[in-house]
Symmetry: C2
Subunit: 424 residues, 2 copies
């Protein structure tokens, strides 16, 4: 048995402390908010309409309404929950774990009648698996063009589904071996509906692999690490040794409705309190070089473009627009003269010594320079994280909707969680 596969299988029975489970539940609330709010986005509607026309057993609910077979629900719910690009990120592998894992885990949990504790436990282990496969794949895999949400995510989705289907170790290994042959996703879909679909494909592929393994499908458990295996074909250059402990606790939740590469900058800005934009002569942002090709659109003319623009979000924040609100990213605001004028005073610089998760912002003001920095890797106390996620959910769903999501996850049932997605 290869090292990584053994580690993934060992996750199934590894005891989890209270904190990783609590963070997983926070991610579930966060994911529900993103999926419910994203259910009417064009990508979600298109995929949902396709599968509703296909019909089939209503095994699991869909964001936006209706129900479908488990692997089909996983496809729709992955795409819907990633449609707003407002869901969580794990920077250990630069991927979005919840949108690949939770659609798979919830669909299976709903169909098999699992309780929330079993759902949380399986989702935690699936997320952990995706981050660990992502770590093994490394930065080279991402840099060459693979989208870890889709590739590493499929392994996590398969593991979560296998756990909820109660597969034994041999069949779980078969599911992971089988998903190796279809784990996929390209960064060249960024900026299109293909990006959220990658999450759905990972979730659906994971469920499918687990369902087939449950029926005795024979694959090759060496297909992840062996000769011609996924790590070798997909340009893995990650560390051969994996850190101990639960990496899940290091997941980052988004509190701004834009690319996660911009968040350290926005947190640094916020740490200074309100500034008078008229007093700002110039702003210099220092960031890790990796983000220059991801979210450094200099003068975007659309709201979608603004979500990938250091200069634009900095101008929005300084002008008092709420960067947590979806409607701050409109075409009109991206082209607003005040935003454009302030944006022209912002420069972005790639600095090797700035961490991938950090940013440093320097303001040139009449009163002298102001410097602020932030690193998203800074541990956020659990209570503060919970409070911010509740606030985000309330902004997306209204206070009643947020409260319902919170109650369903913290002490409710899987049926109550599923009912939040939409009517059957």
């Amino acid at each position: 048995m290869s090292d990584l596969m053994a580690r993934l299988l060992a996750l199934v029975h590894s005891p989890a402390g209270a904190e990783p489970l609590a963070v997983m539940r926070l991610s579930m609330v966060d994911w529900l908010a993103c999926g419910i709010a994203g259910a009417d986005e064009p990508v979600a509607r298109i995929v949902r309409d396709m599968v509703l026309e296909e019909g089939g057993a209503g095994q699991a609910r869909l964001f936006g309404g209706g129900a479908a077979p488990m692997r089909v629900a996983a496809l729709v719910n992955g795409a819907a929950s990633h449609a707003l690009d407002y869901d969580d990120t794990h920077f250990a592998h630069i991927g979005h774990p919840s949108v690949a894992i939770l659609p798979a885990a919830l669909a299976v949990a709903e169909h098999v009648g699992a309780d929330v504790s079993a759902l949380t436990s399986a989702a935690l282990r699936g997320t952990e698996a995706s981050v660990r496969v992502g770590l093994a794949l490394g930065r080279g895999h991402y840099q060459v063009g693979f989208h870890q949400t889709g590739t590493a995510g499929a392994f996590g989705a398969a593991l979560a589904a296998a756990i909820l289907l109660d597969l034994d170790e041999a069949r779980t290994a078969q599911a992971l071996g089988l998903v190796s042959t279809r784990a996929a996703g390209l960064k060249s879909q960024f900026g299109t509906m293909g990006k959220p679909l990658n999450a759905g494909l990972a979730a659906a592929g994971g469920v499918e692999a687990a369902l087939l393994a449950a029926r005795g499908f024979v694959s090759n458990p060496g297909a992840l690490e062996g000769q011609n295996g996924f790590l070798s074909t997909h340009r893995a250059d990650g560390a051969p040794h994996q850190p101990e402990g639960w990496l899940m606790t290091g997941v980052s939740h988004k509190f701004h409705a834009c690319c996660h590469g911009l968040h350290a900058t926005l947190e640094a800005l916020a740490s200074l309190g309100p500034l008078d934009p008229a007093a700002v002569r110039a702003v210099r942002i220092e960031t890790h070089p990796r983000w220059m090709t991801v979210c450094n659109q200099p003068e975007p003319a659309t709201g979608l473009g603004a979500k990938f623009s250091y200069r634009t979000v900095t101008a929005l924040a300084l002008l008092g627009h709420d960067t947590a609100a979806l409607d701050s990213y409109t075409d009109a605001l991206a082209c607003d003269p005040a935003v454009a004028a302030l944006r022209d005073r912002v420069t972005v610089e790639a600095v090797d010594t700035v961490a991938e998760t950090a940013a440093r912002v320097t303001f040139d003001t009449a009163a002298g320079p102001l410097i602020a920095g932030f690193d998203l890797d800074t541990p956020l106390p659990l209570a503060e994280r919970a409070q911010r996620i509740r606030r985000k959910a309330a902004a997306l769903l209204g206070p009643d909707g947020a409260e319902a999501a919170w109650r369903a996850v913290e002490g409710g049932t899987v049926a109550e969680i599923a009912a939040l997605l939409g009517p059957v």
Copy 2:
């Protein structure tokens, strides 16, 4: 527009002569025979059982019975028709085109009510697209561990489905851009049920991409060739220039029920007529080095292993076992003492100067050396090809079944073809 994408799109309206269409129809008969004969293989049953439990609109028939939504039928029928590994191969990209393209094309044709001429035309263009994407991916892509049937096949399936859904050029380009993010398949599944599933995944992914594009899904048509695109992520090293004409006419049909890498050797043997095995002191097979890791199992103990063993199939052929018959590849025969004794007199040698599609066989006999060679690339006259495919179909389906398949393809309807797969 990039070169390869432009070429794929141009296929849609390229006039096809009688020969490529005739070869495509032969591949349809061959594919039907393989799928009907393979419908009870374990991989086919497992995938079919899973989707029948899911239910859904009976848009398209399944090998072995039942019907399912188009993209689901494509999954089942791809796996079922590749289960016996007896379907066609195109050596320009070392992939099995029909098992990826025809499940997609037939499912859509059945649902939209196309006629056989439209089905054949779309399948031809899809096949051509898969071979051409495979040529661009090149030998390096295959050698590093990707299974072209799954990767290149998905593009062909998407194009065939897009044509039958009557998508305009822009939406066809969207379908091809979208399928880039999920075209997948690893050689590490060889020898397991994962290999035939790769064909089903390609077919299903192609149908799904075309259905989503038909609904207005926005992807990136540059995702095949552009930055971070499929060719760059998936290690393409093929020739930048594509040959003219229809490559479909170069497809190879299998007339032996084993790995295609062994067929040149078996054809060379057959060209000598019956030999007295007792008179054969030694046999030396010279083959291209590529096949040494594919089908050179020296002493397989199983029927499946025998299908990937130069030495074993040579012994079987010399002893008069019919290498075209499925039941010549049993565990018992692989372990038969007469087979083992003759096998021990066979040596296999990798020779760089032998073409990938060729083999040279030298017999050391009491009467002196006997030398025979064969190249699968040797054009087979259409009438002879048709005759051999009819004979193969009759061996797999019985004479009545073969005749029904032939009549349905040559002058029948798509409904008649679909009905051959099984009862609803």
